[in-house]
Point group: C2
Chain length 84, copies 2
């Protein structure tokens, strides 16, 4: 069994309105240290498969097909072997 | 300068409708290996401060105040020292 942790963020070229909104709010709350905020989606997906290569292939395929908007977003992932 | 990576997910006791929706979609796309899907928010926040303890205190404070719904969500974070 593997746990895939998938991080989805906007492409650098794309304006991140939610990130800007959070940054402005943090500045109004006087967190002046805050320089830059990127906000995205996070998935933890368990896969019942012991072949790490096949798991990687599946994660890359369904991330492109379902989890991200390929025109605006990029993703990275980590795989962790877990009990089960 | 530090980069805070913050992961926000529902409390285990809370139903995760988006996660369920993604799981059903993956099963319809014949990714039968998929057992469980948790969907949450992900933040990358740069802080212009060299004191890691102070950065940790700020991240914990503003995560509770702004980034999560304390009744339904939990968060964890990682701090990474970066150039700048």
């Amino acid at each position: 069994m593997y746990l895939a942790k998938i991080y989805v963020t906007y492409k650098p070229s794309i304006l991140d309105p939610k990130g800007e909104t959070v940054k402005d709010a943090l500045h109004r709350m006087e967190y002046a240290d805050v320089q830059d905020v990127v906000m995205g989606k996070y998935f933890e997906i368990k896969l019942d498969n012991s072949d790490v290569n096949q798991v990687a292939k599946e994660v890359e395929a369904f991330s492109q097909q379902l989890l991200i908007n390929v025109n605006m977003e990029v993703f990275r992932y980590e795989l962790e072997k877990i009990e089960g």
